[in-house]
Symmetry: C2
Subunit: 436 residues, 2 copies
């Protein structure tokens, strides 16, 4: 709530939070969406979210004119509120589901529908929130298989009871979680959308509101699958939906940090409600979603480099690991015909392959591994290691954990590692899918 | 050499290898650069390199017209051959310095000036090759500190005796080598250019010729520093020069796989000889280049992930490692307040920090680490680990090895890790430096 005087002016003009308004201030006109008063905001300063994505405050005393703008963009759904599709929201922690409390300095969780809607008033135009759950509250750097198991179970249940599920998540490992859910949710017949924020709610460049709006819109669209929905560009123009097994956080701080790797974005989603699909999608259905949460946590990851010590393989053998992903160089190389014989990884990978399944990915990130081009690659191929096609290291790690949690024979797991089951392998990468 | 009959026709028209020619074939006209006859080529089929970068063969019997085109692009340097800048070429192996011999199936090294020039006839318009050296021949996946030491010494000597040095290198670890040379070459007053090829010489989409041409051109330009020169786009339009400490191979197979990370490209280089600088560069001078090849190979790299086992730290402690780079998530996180206490990395990093220097980078690749945003980051900061600004993990690894090879006190190394010495830290990353 703004101050009493401001609220009176707004009421007199028929303006509510979320409306597009025009103000005239110091001989210039400004247009933007009226935001709720920030926690630490002056009660006499109204805040507009401008088209460029930034919030700007205007002292009401200095404003000459404030008037409501026609919102041609807004669909008439506001009138048919009761018919809006019902979605479930699962809050797990992270920047998106928190705001900084300036009085205590602590982080305050947004736990109920009202609080979340108050940060994103547009939401009420598109969805009706059936349920908000909060199974745990952690920064995503602390998430792991135990949380994924719980999350998969809750998500399956919610997917069966609503039109779609939106999961609020910290961004650090959101792509690991989206991979885990992609494998764990079987028979997935609804949209499951992970969404986060790169900037906290109190910053002018905050992205959580638009991300949440777009994620909610996408969770009601006609498709089925796990996606990450985040800013498509560094502006507030649209969000992209990225397939859960093909997403990666590619920047520490930018709002458009999440990118599709070796895949097209699934869709562009505009905050006015439009969804433009950019790739083929599975259509939604009424099939019952199930959670298959078996996994084996004994899967390791090694990134090789010049001079890297292959003896580290013994660490994983001694700890009884059952799987290992090695991030090789280029097409999937490891140091092979090195000057000093003890620097070669070949004999060590042979040894590891006897105890566990070894998958090779590429630290290039983009592109496909290929075990047949060079003689060193053919040597590596003979060790029993599997080159994991165009799979991300992160996705390969989780897929291998998932497969090893099941009662499959070794040969079956090796075969399944190279079969596309949840969008993780793309047989036809096109030229536009690089750095996009 | 083509067949006698073809050579006679070419001679009659005054056409030599490397000339732009026009042919008329089946009622269509084609223009391209006359290439030397491929090893396995029909002696009666002339090969033109078309504008799109692909080689096309034409049976001379079927050609109606072949004529030489005016080459407006070509500078008049061909006339002043003796005044061309002298460069040194160092061949280390990799796709660029080899060609497949179809008769034996083996790989044939291009060891002398004539052979290299014959693959890139344009070269003679721009440079005079003073010396070609071949200190070792390996795939770049097998390179390590021992080779870098040798390479730095040879490069320093050649830089002092010529206008610039071009190093032919396999692409897998070319960015590790460019980092190593950036730190090891002190007083660097000349251009040192690493160049490779993503496609072998016998493929229509071969990129080595244009890369080598552009690398040679760039090695004669007015700047000093270590760069990687490779295709700027997937077409044959121009190459980019990337600062040696800010380069990364970002695709397993594309010709434009090498990209600048958190930095601008140093220059665009066109195969007609033009160099457009895109960032400030140090100018060349006559200062004596020196090689400082001290290093400590006992530096490890760990990429953390959900469920990653921090006990691996003990492996590096037991092997007497002196440095460790941890690729964290997001702004530089590690699993901290995990559900199971034994999954937390904090106490382990504290333990490691007592024995060695621990640097934290980000697996996001782009962007800067920041130890002060979230409470988990502040906990990590207290362990003694250093967040390595916007440095690439690969660069941080090599920088730490280099610093640990010198007689510095611990505090001095920690301080130097956060100081920019060879372009490895960029204080002002601009918005265009993402996925570029």
């Amino acid at each position: 709530m703004y101050g009493a005087e401001v609220e009176k002016i707004l009421k007199g003009k028929g303006i509510s939070i979320g409306d597009n308004v025009k103000v005239k201030w110091r001989n210039s006109a400004f247009e933007g969406q009226l935001m709720p008063r920030p926690d630490v905001g002056d009660e006499n300063v109204i805040v507009l979210k401008m088209k460029n994505g930034y919030n700007t405050g205007f002292k009401t005393l200095e404003i000459e004119l404030i008037e409501k703008q026609k919102t041609t963009e807004k669909p008439s759904k506001t009138e048919t509120k009761s018919n809006l599709p019902q979605i479930s929201i699962i809050a797990t922690g992270g920047t998106i589901s928190s705001k900084v409390d300036y009085k205590t300095g602590g982080v305050h969780m947004l736990m109920n529908a009202e609080e979340i809607i108050s940060t994103a008033p547009q939401l009420k135009n598109f969805v009706s929130i059936k349920k908000i759950l909060n199974p745990f509250t952690i920064g995503s750097e602390d998430i792991s298989f135990r949380e994924w198991t719980k999350l998969a179970e809750i998500t399956a249940k919610q997917a069966n009871e609503s039109e779609g599920v939106v999961i609020l998540h910290g961004t650090d490992t959101m792509h690991y979680t989206s991979s885990a859910l992609s494998f764990m949710l079987t028979n997935l017949s609804k949209p499951v959308v992970l969404v986060g924020a790169q900037r906290s709610q109190d910053r002018p460049s905050r992205d959580g509101v638009m991300n949440l709006t777009c994620a909610s819109i996408f969770s009601t669209s006609n498709h089925a699958g796990v996606s990450i929905v985040m800013h498509g560009t560094s502006n507030d123009d649209y969000c992209i939906a990225i397939p859960g097994t093909k997403a990666r956080k590619m920047h520490t701080s930018r709002r458009d940090a999440f990118r599709p790797i070796n895949a097209k974005p699934r869709a562009f989603i505009f905050p006015d409600g439009r969804v433009e699909f950019k790739d083929e999608v599975k259509k939604r259905s009424s099939e019952e979603v199930k959670a298959d949460t078996s996994y084996n946590p004994k899967v390791g990851l090694i990134k090789v480099h010049p001079g890297s010590n292959p003896e580290i393989i013994d660490f994983f053998i001694s700890k009884n690991y059952k799987g290992l992903i090695i991030e090789g160089t280029g097409l999937g190389h490891v140091p092979t015909q090195t000057l000093k014989k003890e620097d070669s990884w070949i004999d060590w990978i042979k040894k590891a392959s006897k105890e566990m399944i070894v998958g090779i990915t590429s630290q290039c990130i983009y592109g496909r591994t290929n075990p047949n081009v060079y003689s060193n690659l053919r040597l590596l191929n003979k060790t029993g290691a599997i080159h994991c096609e165009d799979m991300l290291s992160e996705t390969a790690l989780i897929k291998l954990s998932f497969l090893l949690g099941h009662d499959y024979e070794r040969k079956e797991i090796e075969k399944k590692m190279l079969e596309n089951t949840a969008g993780e392998i793309n047989k036809r990468i096109t030229i536009s899918e690089f750095l996009n």
